[in-house]
Symmetry: C3
Subunit: 315 residues, 3 copies
Amino acid sequence: MKSFLSINDVENLPALVKDALEIKKNPHVYKVLGRNRSMCLIFLNPSLRTRLSSQKAAFNLGLQTAVLDVGSQGWQLEFADGVKMDSDKAEHIKEAAAVIGSYFDVVAIRAFAKLENRDEDYNEQVMESFKKYCPAPIINMESGTGHPLQALADLITINEHKTVDKPKVVLTWAPHPKALPQAVANSFSRWIQAAEFDLTITHPKGYELVEEAAGNADVEYNQEKAFEGADFIYAKNWSSYAHYGQILSNDPDWMVTENKMKLTNNARFMHCLPVRRNVVVEDAVIDSENSLVLPQATNRIYSMQTILKQILEKL
Amino acid sequence: MKSFLSINDVENLPALVKDALEIKKNPHVYKVLGRNRSMCLIFLNPSLRTRLSSQKAAFNLGLQTAVLDVGSQGWQLEFADGVKMDSDKAEHIKEAAAVIGSYFDVVAIRAFAKLENRDEDYNEQVMESFKKYCPAPIINMESGTGHPLQALADLITINEHKTVDKPKVVLTWAPHPKALPQAVANSFSRWIQAAEFDLTITHPKGYELVEEAAGNADVEYNQEKAFEGADFIYAKNWSSYAHYGQILSNDPDWMVTENKMKLTNNARFMHCLPVRRNVVVEDAVIDSENSLVLPQATNRIYSMQTILKQILEKL
Amino acid sequence: MKSFLSINDVENLPALVKDALEIKKNPHVYKVLGRNRSMCLIFLNPSLRTRLSSQKAAFNLGLQTAVLDVGSQGWQLEFADGVKMDSDKAEHIKEAAAVIGSYFDVVAIRAFAKLENRDEDYNEQVMESFKKYCPAPIINMESGTGHPLQALADLITINEHKTVDKPKVVLTWAPHPKALPQAVANSFSRWIQAAEFDLTITHPKGYELVEEAAGNADVEYNQEKAFEGADFIYAKNWSSYAHYGQILSNDPDWMVTENKMKLTNNARFMHCLPVRRNVVVEDAVIDSENSLVLPQATNRIYSMQTILKQILEKL
């Protein structure tokens, strides 16, 4: 693997998941890959799981890691071409990405959608700029349109817990007090379909995902109907793509509850975390035996480690 | 040792101090203990000595370390049970502690008393929540009620410098412009009494420590009288426990001065740092040959390293 | 080398540059030097290149590194002697420097000029305080008056790209929206002259460097005239030394342009980064084949690594 920006960079998805499951069994056997190599983690936004699981993955691989919180520790970055830089942005991405990429063997970046301008977010300005100017392989730790490390961790988790070959997976929108990016939902939808599972997406009208992410998934506006027979319920809030970045609904009836879970085929409950308890999901569901939120989070280590392994192998 | 929240987790105090003194002589001999293991340091508050000495202790043990500044780098945490999470707190401690504890072999936490609500601080909400939800051993890097790593460092220092078996140790309150937690004073009092030294605590009325910390120490409201015959003077400001979090006095007459030190048995001066010079203690005292503030700070490495060693040995 | 505060700490400059060029060829051969040793990087100001290249240099040397962002992570520091510390500064540099220096084998510090008080900046209060109170060797990662790690990286770069023994080097002031320190210009001027290259400094009147830095360089107020026959153009903004910290000019005619570069001897363009594009320098120049800004930035690794190697060898 050269870089990891989205599922498009994955050549063989079943092989990738298989590799992850193997790595999880013996996480320290690839330490030679990290020898005399180093990675930079660049955060333009807060992070807990991604920050820590990425460092843990690097520890497992013997890979040295430097962490940069742009904004609090570095300089504000300019992304526009040809601009006269007399604002508060002290450094152009051309230099920043080129320099960082000359220091490290791998560069991982988190840059959330700002939800102000759909084109800017969906053009993946930050990630594409790094791809263009950074000579080292880059890894997407959540970008304007996707969060593929999360989707890979989710896929590993489903593979560990599915009891049928092609489980029915339901991605359900849930309410949230803040406007959130579509990144997690987009990637989950793309990866689940790429894995050829049966995917139903349920949400209030107006929350349709971008076409490329929605793909051929069934869209069902009736949440209870969507839950029927589900093997996995994946809850996530996102803001509207059509009315970009807007909160169209805060309807508490969309919260995932114990009662709704009864409609499913004893489904496992999933969420990428952090989660708003009793807003997105009832305590009774997330605290139940069927909750997979912790295994998902743990698999973030192996998701990152697998991507790093495949990138380091190609250096 | 399973976890290290307070002196209650110490089985054999003399053996612990002896272990620390041995480790200090040969700090790199336990590197095998850290092999393929890692620690997370979680800071909810600022830190200099704790942050750096903990990393140094980990270096000495070959233990990989990730540092998380919650707030600036992570998410605001919710600690209350059953709450509808529609505030600015994006993640519940249940998930945060469980996830971090699934990534690392040891988790160390700093969470100062907020001095707003005595029950909240003295119930040790943060530390107890981590203990409850974090599957990995946890270490207290200063909590609502105690700072046991500091107390262990102080005890190591006293053992290195005492000239009699049972020295007279005086813990004296001193003025300070800000309201400070009782944590350092509480732990010092408990550990010095556990070590069976002769402890006198002196402070203005209203600054009595919580009963569990005060124990059987002599309380003397006349500072000069308390200093008489002392072998060690430990200065520290704290806010009132009875009138919780309040500053009852800023009386500069409680500053530790050269003249007062003359009342002692050529006592050594101690403070945990950071210290307000010429507010808590005169320059002439902290800069004198009898000052132990730097040896105390250096012993923070061996205090943390000893606790880590004992925890790693039990993994 | 004991410490590295300025060029005054360099015994043999040609040997230092030669060492750097050797290290660059085989960056991992000195890993034994870092064994069981550690460094602390202390930042009082933002940093990208310095932060990351220093960590990379340490990785190459097998040296463990802890990073401290004073202010956001630690305590505000007091530098004045004898003061009653009842302000917002919680810790005196005497303790902070002594403690950090007792934890680590090397301590590197970044403390920009504040541009408020010339004496304070040019007395190097922060760096001199560390030198005085820190028992470990210290490294200047940019101080009130100089940025010697940058100057060494620049010198390495010039040595790699010069085609004549004594190239004509031009340091040109350039406009900038913010008042910047003189540190980079000061050090560049001193190091280029120490290397016995032919140095011309060009700037509007009022921007003369401090005498010690200006040395015997030619000063030419006509930028175009200065550019004639130049082999290297080094652009940098700085605020006035005479009218301390003031912006005396924002004249866009001082920007380095393609047309002006035509006056040179096909000169290479240099800048320490971060750079304001189309304010300090035109896109056409920084993006040209003659631009050395990225090689300069890469050489920051070897500049730091060479200084660290020479310090570690003397421990």
